[in-house]
Amino acid sequence: MIAARLQAEPFDLAAEQAALLAGRTDLGAAVCFTGLVRADEGLVALTLEHYPAMTLAQMQAIADQAAARWPSVVGTAIHRHGRLTPGEAIVLVVTASPHRDHAFAAAMFLMDWLKTGAPFWKREEWADGTTRWVEAKATDDGAAARWNQA
């Protein structure tokens, strides 16, 4: 079971990992990924827009694909929306599994698909007052696509 959540509020990585491990005795490996707003020179804030009717459902569909691919993995994927400032965390993926290879693989799969398969759009605010929509990266599409070849 990998659970997806969408929220404006910050998350607590240690609490999320502890919740995943609680009551389980068979998990030898836990992986946490945190995505953060980089403080690129002059960046004031990032606003994450999403599609309320679709985004969480799409996140859960991605989580379900990961759970089907790695049945031994349990996990939590949390994506924030709204306005975030440099240094703030945007996204958290926590996975746990009996062995480390599956925990790592599922975390990478979740991140690759959250980047390319969930309807979020980032708008940057700059110190000079301009705003700019972040362009999608071909490298992100490539990272996601490689899972279909494996």
């Binding site: 009717a53 799409q58 996204v91 980047k115 390319t116 969930a118 309807p119 759009w121």
Partner: protein
């Protein structure tokens, strides 16, 4: 049919949602985008480069040939940039 727009598509079209009744011969996503582009300069500008446009039909990602039969909500937006 409810149209919803996100990110710079929303900004260029000038609204986040509108209810429209396309003509009967508009049966696919591609035909809908062609028809919408004729509605205003904003629509035309937003939809000018179809390689930068993504569409969801009833909250499912759709391609140009996806049918609109029975669809109630069409979302039009740029490539996603989450994570």
């Amino acid at each position: 049919m409810q149209l919803v727009y996100f990110a710079w598509v929303r900004e260029m079209v000038g609204t986040d949602a509108e209810t429209l009744a396309p003509p009967a011969d508009v049966t696919t996503v591609a035909a809908l985008l062609d028809w919408l582009a004729g509605r205003s300069d904003g629509h035309a500008a937003a939809l000018a480069d179809r390689s930068r446009i993504r569409v969801a039909v009833d909250q499912q990602f759709a391609g140009p040939d996806t049918t609109l039969a029975g669809a109630t909500e069409i979302a039009i937006f740029p490539p996603v940039t989450g994570g």
